[in-house]
Symmetry: C2
Subunit: 337 residues, 2 copies
């Protein structure tokens, strides 16, 4: 049985292990600093499909296939798939997973969805309701831009605080008791709203929720950032990362020397014109399902906190003058010592 | 520990009981056949807010408050909230639950979301990761019409197969071991696509997935519809219901005499001009959190299958010529014998 530690943290009794992972990205992501870490990429942003939306679905299909194959399984061996994306009505996941004939749990947490997906998959495995599960998310720059902002053809200018939605999908296969990396604990986040209204500054909208979840976790478990090899955030970018350092410092935690942000890892900000960094719920998913897993396997990492961060807005809510709350979910990943 | 029965069904070991429920609806729903069953309604479709979207969030806040209060709890006693709605980026849930300061799991399964929410809440309770959880969904006719179809002011005509999105929210409070109604088993559905492309015929899009999940359940458990007081579907309406009877009959099950559809219960089709019936993920939620719970309490029901049904489309996917897959999740509810 899982146990609640303190106010928010859940400690799992079973070892919920990662037995397969796959990360598939677009051309720009392949040209970035992590390019060699990913399983596959395409020079064609439509991935051979007729629309960017269908391309995003294709990304999910590919990352799931890769992860399941690396686990030495077939899709029919998977008991449940936990999936989400940024498109309206999570339609990328629907079409990406339509042909699997597996039970699907649709999730939405904006860019926090990958960690939410891991939390829910781990919960189902811990409960005994499944023996194997897949967690997957995706995002696509072109489908996100035209849905949230403007058609690409409009060529609008981006502000310095804007982030670049990552074209990527990452998938993990989880099971009980096996795997070189396992989920030891998790924290489901609350919705945190400090009143940010600038939809071109997602970092500022998400940082307060990242601070909230991290500080709850540190308090619940009596740990500090120094107890971990690294604390990853999803996609705060440079603006959100700087804010996060200030917010956790107010609560007495020094994060700077033990922190890395997937949105900053994904692109070279000097050369790739992504402004404050990468974003999108495929960003943290692809970094987790490649770079982070590889560093566990080569022994660099033993103990990592992984927190995807989400900005809870819709084009309608922004037009109606609503603020942009954030939500951050956390998993504590452990490797072989 | 939960156990997997057959291919899809999960049997829970803990008694995951309902200890509180709340249903809040709009004016038209209050005037329907179930009007007296609901906890609250408003003559004003904006529920005192400035937009239909904010009204939908208000519905969620009200139904959760009612359910938690009936459970004799305060919102701070709830370990986790499982929530979803039909609005882009599940924004109704975000703003409806923003002030709760509780961990929130965002879910998306279109009109199947209430049952998905119950499945995930029950899984978390079974795993020990939470002691109390809330499952809640909402929908609003006016916010859904302008998002999925046309602004209300356009006054477009509706086809005979069209359904009326219910303005409603339903919430259940769940816990371990207590409650007059409990979740005994559940089935997470797969995405089923028989190629329906008419977005004004949701019943036809959803019926194949309802048949798939129900037949999987009957096969896994060796039961037939006669073993239950009633089998509820979410919102197939008249068109989808007739199709469901045919589809399950092909697999040897006679459903007609033991079936009820929340979309048909919600409105009086003769008098209320809703065409094929009600829909929306607040529809099955509100019927469950009122009529179904009341019939368990007065001893009419002892054993019920409850399946919310969802049509997985987005306005973009329809415009891109994609078909409309369905998904159906199921819970088996038991009362005191």
């Amino acid at each position: 049985m899982a146990k609640r530690i303190g106010k928010r943290t859940v400690r799992l009794e079973q070892k919920i292990g990662v037995i397969g992972y796959g990360a598939v990205v677009g051309k720009k992501e392949h040209e970035g600093p992590l390019g060699q870490e990913f399983d596959a990429f395409s020079d064609d942003n439509r991935f051979g499909e007729v629309s960017y939306e269908k391309a995003e679905s294709r990304l999910q299909t590919l990352s799931v296939d890769t992860a399941v194959s690396k686990a030495g399984l077939e899709i029919g061996d998977i008991d449940c798939i936990f999936a989400g994306d940024l498109l309206n009505q999570c339609i990328g996941s629907t079409f990406g997973l339509r042909s699997t004939e597996r039970p699907v749990v649709g999730l939405y947490g904006a860019c926090s969805t990958m960690t939410l997906s891991l939390c829910m998959a781990a919960t189902m495995l811990e409960s005994g309701a499944a023996k194997t599960a897949v967690a997957v998310t995706s995002s696509h720059f072109c489908s996100a831009e035209r849905q949230y902002r403007f058609p690409l053809e409009y060529g609008n200018q981006r502000t310095p605080t804007a982030q670049w939605t990552t074209t990527a999908s990452g998938a993990l296969v989880l099971t009980q008791g096996v795997g070189s990396v396992y989920i030891d604990e998790y924290c489901i986040g609350q919705i945190v709203d400090l009143g940010v209204t600038d939809q071109n500054n997602m970092g500022a909208a998400m940082a307060p929720s990242a601070a909230d979840t991290l500080c709850h976790y540190f308090e619940d478990t009596g740990t500090t950032p120094e107890d971990f090899d690294l604390v990853f955030t999803g996609d705060l970018g440079q603006v959100g990362t700087d804010l996060l350092y200030d917010l956790v410092a107010e609560q007495g935690y020094a994060l700077r020397c033990r922190h890395s942000d997937c949105g900053l890892l994904m692109f070279d900000r000097e050369k790739q014109d992504v402004h404050a960094g990468g974003s999108g719920c495929g960003c943290s998913a692809a970094v987790l399902a490649s770079y982070v897993m590889h560093r566990f396997e080569d022994g660099t990492f033993h103990d990592v906190l992984f927190c995807s961060t989400g900005a809870l807005l819709s084009p309608t809510s922004v037009m109606q003058g609503e603020s942009i709350p954030g939500v951050t979910h956390l998993v504590h990943l452990k490797g072989k010592k």
